[in-house]
């Protein structure tokens, strides 16, 4: 069992899930509450990774951040290296890849909040920000848990993007799914099997924990 790959994958999944929560909350807020006519475009854009093969996403990350693109050159001048083959590159790829899994549950949670509660908060003197943190967030607890679970699990088993941009560097970009791939390629099926089982077990445990917690979370309108 490749513990290094497991630790790396856990770290990648946690950072991705955390980042996606931070990115997803304002995006979802905007999608849920904006009255702009073109907000459907943002909705579509955030859902694109659902239909885009991870290899395509990885390919574009390679191209966009390679030294032949202006963006890549800018990034290289700034950081001294390309985004590919770095842990940061995996985080960026995973964030893009799992974005829909963060935004959609949050949007669902936000729109199912009784708008009168938001009005009530505002009338009671709370700013939009305070309303967000004191009313919208606590009442979206189950949506937030779902977001964390989905993005974590989705990243944990993520393969295509990592294969495309990772470069399979042990301890940096060799995730557990890549390790399984390598083991199969090398014909070491027994080890591949063990690693795969660990991957499945971790994902199952994380999802089960979240759904168990979710079951106990706030009902949105307890008396309805």
């Amino acid at each position: 069992m490749n513990w290094q790959a497991l630790a790396l994958t856990l770290r990648l999944s946690l950072i991705t899930a955390g980042s996606l929560l931070v990115i997803g909350l304002p995006l979802a807020y905007w999608v849920a509450f904006s009255r702009r006519r073109w907000k459907f475009l943002l909705q579509t854009a955030t859902s694109m990774p659902l239909v885009m093969p991870p290899t395509v996403l990885g390919f574009y990350i390679l191209i966009a951040f390679g030294s032949s693109s202006p963006l890549g050159r800018l990034y290289q001048r700034w950081t001294g290296h390309t985004l590919a083959f770095t842990f940061t590159g995996l985080v960026v790829g995973s964030i893009l890849y799992s974005l829909p899994f963060a935004v959609q549950p949050l949007v669902n949670a936000f729109v199912s909040i009784d708008p009168r509660l938001i009005d009530a908060s505002r009338v009671l003197g709370a700013s939009r920000l305070r309303t967000f943190f004191r009313v919208i967030l606590p009442l979206s607890a189950s949506g937030i848990a779902t977001t964390i679970a989905l993005t974590f699990a989705h990243t944990f088993g993520e393969f295509g993007v990592v294969l495309m941009v990772g470069g399979d560097i042990p301890g940096v970009t060799r995730t557990i799914s890549i390790d399984v791939f390598d083991l199969v390629e090398a014909g070491r099926y027994g080890q591949a099997n063990i690693t795969s089982l660990v991957l499945l077990a971790v994902s199952f445990t994380v999802l089960a924990l979240v759904y168990w917690w979710n079951r106990r979370a706030w009902p949105r309108t307890p008396w309805a």
């Binding site: 009784d114 009168r116 509660l117 009005d119 009530a120 908060s121 505002r122 009338v123 009671l124 003197g125 709370a126 700013s127 004191r134 009313v135 606590p138 009442l139 706030w218 009902p219 949105r220 309108t221 307890p222 008396w223």
Partner: protein
């Protein structure tokens, strides 16, 4: 019973002295503040009601502190009006001021943010935060105060609304009445400059409702802020109102004291809202200035037409009018009554009996059909049944002359 007013002059909204019996007031007195408009409202706004019909709100009024009832059918624009005051809805044009503080002025470009309007708003569904305890719900609007003052105010309001023992409970664990009290307390603890109540008590039984209203009145006795109270319950209007504004399709169609506006409705829509079961087409056939009455023919032109006496009003002979009579204002007798002050005694045949919770609605054909409201006890002791010969007694002042709603044509 208060004598019905059919005066043609409009009843002002600041006509509190009329209600308190017309005794002349000494000039400097505590009630004086009521004479000044505490809430000055003018707004035009297009809105879509709950059934999806588009209306335009076009309302102008000024009310002093105390309770003003907003009365009207659903979709009349009541909630939109409250929204304009709270800042949850933005008028296309208008000016809204509370105690001379301008909250909105389309000309001056003023639009104070919702959170800074100092408005108390109790929503129809109360909108208590389900994840916060009673205490934290009440505390929610208290910011920028030191903790001691916050505690003092919370304690005070929880006492006033008798919910102190519920402090730690969640809204989901409260009864309907308790939740209403929490919602009121949460709004009032912030010391709002104006209080908006959107049918907050509609779901309660009458005794609970009355107790909460008493507490609300007691609270406001010291503070004297304007309170707009939306309802479409006629009982609440009479129980509460210092004033009433009747809204229909985004317009104010009547305003004044409850007993003037709803007790003696001068518009048919108001009469319908106020629950006048008997509405008739009629024509004035004679005016008796000396008797203070007019003779009025119901269902003119039909062979079954009958004449009744109605109070004198400044209406010309042979004008077409509508007459409204509340079913509860009609007396029913099984023998011909004699020696009454009532001018109208009509003979008829009982056609139907219809029992509705604690009331019996009886229909009597006297040429035209009248609805009469009786108690089940009266019904039994008179042994009423369809086909009975009966007499109806109508007090002159129970017969209200109505005029069509002015604005109806503009839609």
């Amino acid at each position: 019973m208060e004598p019905a007013r059919l005066a043609a002059h409009p009843v002002g909204l600041t006509g509190r002295e009329t209600a308190s019996g017309g005794t002349p007031k000494p000039m400097p007195q505590p009630d004086n503040t009521e004479e000044r408009a505490a809430l000055d409202f003018f707004a035009r706004k297009r809105y879509v009601n709950r059934t999806g019909e588009a209306f335009s709100l076009d309302i102008r009024f000024a009310v002093p502190s105390g309770i003003t009832i907003l009365f009207g059918a659903s979709g009349a624009g009541k909630t939109t009006l409250l929204g304009c005051i709270a800042g949850l809805a933005k008028p296309e044009e208008g000016r809204i001021a509370v105690d001379s503080r301008v909250l909105f002025d389309s000309v001056a470009g003023i639009d104070v943010d919702v959170s800074r309007r100092s408005v108390g708003y109790v929503f129809q569904d109360l909108a208590l935060f389900p994840h916060l305890s009673v205490e934290r719900n009440v505390r929610y609007g208290l910011r920028g105060l030191d903790e001691a003052e916050r505690e003092r105010r919370i304690g005070e309001v929880l006492e006033s609304f008798r919910i102190a023992p519920l402090r730690k409970r969640l809204p989901g664990d409260l009864s309907g009445g308790e939740r209403q009290r929490v919602a009121l307390a949460r709004s009032l603890v912030t010391r709002p400059a104006v209080l908006l109540l959107d049918e907050p008590l509609s779901a309660l039984d009458p005794p609970t409702k009355a107790r909460i209203l008493d507490d609300l009145r007691a609270w406001n006795r010291a503070r004297r802020i304007p309170i707009l109270y939306v309802t479409h319950s006629r009982e609440e209007v009479f129980a509460l109102g210092d004033r009433v504004l009747v809204l229909e399709r985004g317009r104010v169609i009547a305003q004044g004291l409850p007993q003037d506006v709803l007790g003696a409705p001068r518009q048919e829509t108001v009469a319908q809202l106020a629950g006048f079961e008997n509405l008739f087409d009629a024509r004035i056939t004679a005016v008796h200035d000396d008797l203070g009455t007019m003779t009025c023919r119901l269902a003119p032109g039909s062979p079954a037409a009958i004449d009744i006496e109605v109070p004198l009003a400044r209406i010309e002979r042979s004008s077409a009018v509508r007459i409204g009579i509340s079913a509860g204002d009609i007396l029913l007798a099984t023998e011909e009554p004699r020696g009454l002050s009532a001018r109208n005694v009509l003979r008829g045949t009982l056609t139907t009996l219809e029992e509705r919770d604690f009331k019996v609605l009886v229909r009597v054909d006297c040429g035209v059909s009248f609805a009469v409201l009786l108690t089940p006890g009266a019904c039994r002791s008179l042994e009423l049944a369809p086909g009975c010969k009966v007499w109806l007694v109508l007090k002159t002042h129970s017969c209200h002359l109505l005029r069509p709603t002015d604005d109806a044509a503009s839609f």
